[in-house]
């Protein structure tokens, strides 16, 4: 009863969702910039940003400026972009597959993308004409390929494409691809520990270069998904129903799958595999503000950004000076949420 009250109250006040999410993002941003091995006071931070904008640097300690502008700021922006990409990709996969457990990680798309990324990095691939965009491009192509294989395998196993079948297939492919990665790395003779740290995900020491890598894909992918928000609403009732409502299902399905893979591939290329962001964030957004994808997608973006900023902050401060891989933190939060969703889904179906 309480839940229904919250729902009905908050659906009519969707703007409350946007305001809260935005405030959360600003808060997470300030926190992540100011907190660390060196504490930067909030006032200094504002002065530094103000100074950069207006060209006035008077009275600010240069060390703070370096930390804020060259270390923490790009790191936070990258975390935000990766979080937003993964969350919105998760939300759209879930809508498309009518499956609240789908996300780039559980579907195996992240693993596929990391195989692509590792291949590029450690074989030193450069595709002609792409230059440094080879990395995200290969990742994205690998992500799309993996998704296609996972979905056709799941369809082959079970025509009805039950929730569990898709997830199981995703996890099988995930571990298969994971082993392939380990094999590749072992054979290449590189330092295993370093690679594993990369695989568990990190946004540290990437700099502006990586932000340039992900930004165009983020913009294109999320715009394509936003354009299909209403179609996702219809498809959440099943492809047949969507067809009857007038959705060009074949076309829209491929747009959503490609956009989701685009976002995942780009995110993995710059930060490694960070799991469960795409699962946790859309779930919380839906619980709080309803299932309408026109709002779920943008709200997932904002909150995904906040979540990953905070996770990254925790990862680098909790065992300071040692830095944890960010994927460890997201998995610690995400796996229990995954279990919780599975239980509630089961209960609903039984009841």
């Amino acid at each position: 009863m309480l839940k229904r009250f919250i729902r009905t109250f908050s659906v009519s006040k969707i703007w409350v969702g946007y305001v809260l999410s935005a405030l959360l993002l600003v808060f997470a941003f300030c926190l992540a910039i100011t907190v660390g091995t060196v504490q930067v006071p909030l006032k200094e931070m504002l002065q530094i940003f103000g100074g950069t904008l207006f060209g006035t640097y008077e009275g600010i300690e240069p060390m703070f400026t370096t930390i804020v502008l060259y270390i923490r700021f790009p790191r936070v922006v990258l975390a935000a972009l990766v979080g937003a990409s993964l969350a919105v990709a998760g939300a759209s996969f879930q809508g498309l597959l009518k499956n609240p457990l789908a996300d780039p990680y559980t579907l195996g798309v992240s693993s596929g993308a990391s195989v692509g990324a590792v291949m590029t990095i450690f074989l030193g691939l450069t595709l002609p004409g792409l230059g440094r965009f080879t990395l995200p491009t290969v990742s994205i192509l690998a992500a799309i390929l993996t998704l296609m294989i996972v979905l056709s395998f799941a369809r082959y196993v079970d025509r009805a494409m039950k929730m569990e079948t898709i997830i199981l297939t995703g996890i099988i492919f995930s571990s298969f691809l994971g082993s392939t990665l380990s094999l590749m790395i072992t054979l290449s003779g590189e330092d295993l520990r370093q690679i594993i740290t990369w695989l568990l995900g990190s946004v540290s020491m990437r700099g502006w270069e990586y932000i340039h890598l992900i930004a165009p894909f983020f913009v294109i992918g999320s715009m394509l998904l936003m354009w299909n928000a209403r179609e996702l609403n219809a498809m959440a009732f099943g492809e047949e129903r969507a067809h009857h409502l007038g959705v060009n299902v074949q076309l829209r399905k491929y747009i959503v799958l490609v956009s989701g893979s685009l976002l995942t591939g780009a995110a993995v290329a710059v930060s490694g595999t960070i799991g469960f962001v795409g699962l946790v964030v859309p779930h919380m957004v839906r619980t709080a503000w309803g299932a309408d994808h026109r709002h779920v997608l943008p709200l997932s973006m904002i909150n995904g950004a906040s979540l990953l900023i905070v996770c990254d902050l925790i990862a680098r401060t909790i065992l300071s000076p040692t830095e944890l891989p960010i994927g460890v933190i997201t998995a610690l939060i995400g796996a229990p949420v995954f279990g919780y969703i599975l239980i509630t889904q089961r209960k609903e179906r039984r009841g």
Binding site: R7, Q94, R230, A236, H244, L245, G246, N248, G290, A291
Partner: protein
């Protein structure tokens, strides 16, 4: 408006629906019937454009379905599927609003007044407006079905396709939903194609029925022509009986189960109980009866039979209720009882058994002729006068057809007239020979086991027995009545 010509289709190699053709009139309701696996749902998918036909063409308003874009088609044709899956917690309103999708253009399509009106109208008509803000996961199956109907109606389609629309609905919502659709066919120029499992519901609401079997058309015609006993029995492999609906010229189908009416006990004279209050018989098993009694009239199945004595000055506004109460007091369930009334002393009842080799009957008559009437001159009377009643019961140990029931009634009546002539009973007003009294009643009851009797006219075996028996019993009853009159 919809033209289906020689359509065959299915999934991959497997052809499920073969060579179907029909033309749909505007505002028509077409019902699709057929046993499980007869291709009903596949045909629906072909018509909704979900499956492309492998042969033949389907055109809507002169254009092939494949020439429409998804959105254009959704503006014309809406579908209410049988099963709904929904993974997320949409509210009722959000769900119904999705029905406006084909009417909106572009990504940032504004929500127009027309959109709002269509959504509110659809929710109102289907009775889900009160749940507007509830999550569809909190609704019952029937409520959910109505939400999805509202979604389909919000599309403002010209053609609505339904796959067993009444599946999850209780009786009252079934009726409401179908009445609503019927109404929309005129008020919104809606045309409907619907799959039905329930032949009777289909018969009531559809203008035409398409009966499918193994993917082929068995018959496409009006309900009366499709729901023929032989056709339905052959397609569904089940014994059925068809009869007329009490209010509409539509056939209704009744299943005839394997297990028959249990018990084949005979009705005999010994089963009667006679007291000054009533003549009563409780049959060992329900009997099929046709009567003009006060309670339990018409055709039905009854176990208790009572002919109750009431005083000469009996006046009651609601004699039906009074008779029900009376039966109830004696422990006879009123819905199981055929009850008649008479002012005659019921101890004077004449009960006789008659037998041939195959059949036996029991006749019971109470007669009072104080109010005898000549039916030929009855129109000259102005007031109904005092009570006088001939109540005749006929029990047949046999299986009567419907026509045999009616003929038995006729034969009983004719025999009664003859008995009155024998007794020289006259209409006191016209002084001509009477044909009956003002309030006579007749009941024919049959055990419906044993030998079948197709006809019961006067020269059939049964008719002969009835004629002889009723004349004998009635004559004797009139004599008893006259005797008692003289004593008074």
């Amino acid at each position: 408006m919809l033209n289906v010509t020689g359509v065959s289709g299915g999934y991959g190699e497997q052809i499920v629906v073969k060579n179907i053709s029909f033309h749909l009139q505007q505002q028509e309701i077409l019902g699709i019937l057929g046993p499980n696996g007869s291709g009903k749902t596949t045909l629906m998918k072909l018509i909704s454009g979900l499956l492309p036909p492998q042969e033949g063409t389907i055109s809507f308003k002169g254009l092939k379905l494949s020439d429409y874009s998804s959105k254009q088609l959704a503006k014309e044709i809406a579908v209410l599927p049988q099963l709904h899956s929904h993974a997320f917690d949409y509210t009722v309103r959000e769900t119904v609003c999705m029905g406006r999708y084909p009417h909106q253009k572009g990504m940032f399509a504004p929500w127009t007044e027309q959109d709002e009106k269509a959504v509110i109208d659809a929710m109102e008509q289907t009775g889900v407006l009160q749940f507007e803000k509830h999550s569809i996961q909190d609704l019952s199956g029937g409520e959910r079905q109505r939400v999805f109907l509202a979604q389909a109606l919000a599309q403002e389609p010209k053609l609505l396709l339904l796959d067993e629309p009444t599946n999850h609905l209780d009786l009252s919502y079934q009726k409401q939903l179908l009445d609503l659709l019927k109404e929309w066919t005129t008020s919104h120029e809606l045309t409907v194609i619907s799959i039905f499992h329930d032949l009777n519901v289909a018969s009531l609401y559809c203008d035409r029925l398409l009966l499918l079997h193994h993917g082929e058309t068995v018959k496409l015609a009006s309900p009366g022509a499709v729901l023929k006993k032989e056709t339905v029995e052959q397609v569904y492999q089940a014994r059925i009986h068809t009869q007329a609906h009490p209010e509409l010229p539509k056939p209704q189908v009744t299943l005839l189960p394997k297990h028959g009416q249990s018990g084949d006990d005979f009705i005999t004279k010994d089963l009667f109980h006679i007291s000054s209050d009533h003549v009563h018989l409780t049959a060992p098993q329900p009997l099929k009866t046709l009567s003009s009694a006060v309670i339990g009239p018409g055709l039905g199945w009854h176990r208790h039979f009572v002919n109750r004595h009431v005083p000469m000055d009996y006046q009651c506004d609601d004699s039906y209720q009074d008779m029900c109460n009376y039966a109830g007091e004696w422990g006879w369930n009123p819905s199981d009882t055929v009850g008649m009334m008479t002012a005659v002393m019921v101890e004077d009842v004449v009960i006789k058994e008659f037998k041939t080799q195959e059949l036996s009957i029991v006749i019971a008559v109470t007669a009072g002729v104080g109010n005898a009437v000549d039916v030929a001159l009855a129109h000259e009377r102005e007031h109904p006068s005092s009570i006088g009643t001939i109540n005749i019961w006929l029990f047949v140990n046999g299986k009567l057809s419907d026509e045999a029931f009616i003929q038995a009634m006729m034969t009983v009546t004719e025999a009664k007239v003859k008995a009155l002539q024998h007794a020289d009973v006259k209409d006191p007003l016209t002084n001509t020979l009477a044909t009956g009294t003002a309030t006579d009643s007749v009941m024919v009851a049959a055990t419906q086991s044993g030998n079948s009797v197709q006809y019961a006219g006067p020269i059939t075996d049964l008719g002969k027995m009835i004629g002889k028996g009723v004349v004998l019993c009635t004559t004797e009853a009139i004599q008893q009545y006259s005797k008692r009159k003289k004593h008074l």
